[in-house]
Amino acid sequence: MAQISLDNLSFRYPGATADTLSGLNLEVAHAEAHALLGASGAGKTTLLNLLSGLLVPTGGALRMNGRDVSALPGRARDVAQVFQFPVLYESLSVADNLAFPLKTRGVSRAEIAERTAYICEELQITALREKKPHALSLFEKQLVAVGKALVRPDVSLVLLDEPLTAVEPKIKWRLRQTLRKVQADLQVTMIYVTHDQTEALTFADKVSVLTTGGILQTGTPEEVYAAPSHEFVGHFVGSPGMNFLPSKVVGVSQGERVGFRAEWASLSQQSALSDGAVQGLVTRIRIQGTRAGLPYGLVTVATEHGELSVRGELSLGGEKELVVGDSVAIHVHKYVAFEAQHKVGEGELV
């Protein structure tokens, strides 16, 4: 397993006028599950290809366990990759597929048998050992692909390129859980690339939010969710993303804008303009469950500052049930303050 360092890493495609990635700095600890979260076009695939050796950086260095591997070809790096769709050898059985990365490195028959049996056990695919890929479901095939990536005991890093993409939505969570369990059991350093923030937040120990050219923030899922260092992070992470209002409107002196999560605000009857409350009309109500017997969900409110989302009980003062068209006031209780899109502070309001 390996510790990975990106040291001022840059990459520009030949013939391009600007760097796709510039001056990236990142540390991934040994046995860490790290998610690279970013929208399409942010450079996730480029970064992945730099890590796997398909591309060579045009600036800076890539280190694994302290060693500069920037110019090493893929096969010399002890890296494995899981792709968006299952990439297996169609003419070989599951057992032979798993054995392949070991066979090419001259591992003994006995060791191969032992290791593949262990991986099959870990992923619960022992029953599929003798089958060929075409006889498996997409989910099973992707499990085998994960197994193939983990089969070498000396693999430094496992890269996952949106591995849940091809799997049916109902089964995504199973694959996600399996990945999490296997990562913890085998203590594998994993870098997981995705544009889906739910996947990133539920899978990873640390999340890096990537945008065109650079990493905006690296932190634990909690940090990235509750203490975003950039407005884009606040907006991109969370479902729904952060609400933004000019600071003055909520009565905050820090920064130009404040961001607050849907559950950091509450609704009340519209009152005479009170300090810090934003008036608006309810445009949409989405029930997401109940809390203490009362319906609970997401309310979308149209205000003069745009659409805001508030999560909480779907009633005003616990009595009157909310309906679309109601006039409400939004009270912000907790916020993060931003100046020129960067975080300058945070706080709480009564």
Partner: protein, 275 residues
């Protein structure tokens, strides 16, 4: 439905006409006698027919054995992206576009021992090469001509098949530490199966029916050492106007080709089901 009608009209009816002729003795338009399966018996026992058949088999399999691996090798050498891809594909397509008798005429001159580039070159190396006089030389020249003519087809089909392989398969093989041979055997070959079936079927059928090129190049000679099935049939039907036996011959010929193709196809399909 319309397609079925068109196929029926253009294929089945002429076929039935031939079958009709094959069971009759036709002396001229007005005197015909029903002779049953006589012509079939006579053809199958004709020693010249059997010789032509064996020569044909030999030719088809030799040509297939060279063209398929060579075509795949050429396809693997074509860059999948970049500015050379299109020019190379066009160059490869050129032999396929030349009318077949022109192909044979080109090679006729090319192989001439007195003024042909190939003929003179081979003779200069000390081998007394003469494709009109030596059966072995005639065979080699014919095979060389067919390979030159048709390898491009296999190459282009194989290239299309290879281009359809998504990059991640190559990336994964690189990370697995696979050798070039292993990449060919485990990534490329399994995915070329469909393409290869088509290529081999096409070449098998076409080479079994080959007529123009050997006829123009060697005329079936020296002697009848390069007389293949189709030429023998034509001599019988057109030269001798022996419609009865010729028709029987045609039906037998047709059934053979059908048999080979069916055998090949089922063996590939069976192998696929087994896997």
């Amino acid at each position: 439905m319309p397609v079925v009608l068109i196929v029926a009209f253009s294929a089945v009816i002429p076929l039935m006409t031939v079958v009709n002729y094959s069971v009759q003795d036709i002396l001229d338009f007005n005197s015909r006698f029903y002779v049953g399966l006589d012509w079939y018996r006579e053809t199958l026992n004709d020693p010249r027919f059997l010789e032509a058949f064996l020569r044909q088999l030999g030719f088809s399999f030799t040509v297939l054995l060279i063209e398929v691996p060579l075509g795949i090798a050429v396809a693997r050498g074509i860059p999948k992206t970049g500015r050379f891809t299109s020019p190379i594909l066009i160059l490869l397509a050129i032999p396929l576009l030349i009318p077949w008798n022109v192909v044979a005429t080109i090679w006729q001159m090319f192989a001439r021992p007195d003024i042909g580039l190939l003929g003179v070159a081979v003779n200069a190396m000390g081998i007394s090469y003469n494709y009109t006089a030596e059966p072995m030389h005639a065979w080699l020249t014919l095979v060389a001509m067919d390979v030159w003519h048709w390898t491009s087809l296999v190459a282009l089909l194989a290239f299309a098949g290879l281009s359809a392989i998504p990059n991640p398969f190559y990336q994964a093989a690189e990370l697995d530490g696979a050798s070039k041979w292993q990449v060919f055997r485990y990534v490329e070959l399994p995915r070329l199966r469909g393409v290869l079936v088509i290529a081999i079927l096409l070449r098998l059928m076409d080479s079994f029916m080959i007529y123009t090129e050997p006829f123009v190049l060697t005329g079936g000679g020296p002697g009848n050492t390069t007389t293949f099935l189709s030429q023998y049939l034509t001599t019988m039907a057109v030269g001798q106007f022996d419609l009865g036996p010729a028709a029987a011959f045609s039906v037998i010929y047709f059934l053979f080709i059908l048999l080979f193709c069916w055998l090949f196809y089922t063996s590939v399909m069976v192998r696929r089901d087994e896997s």
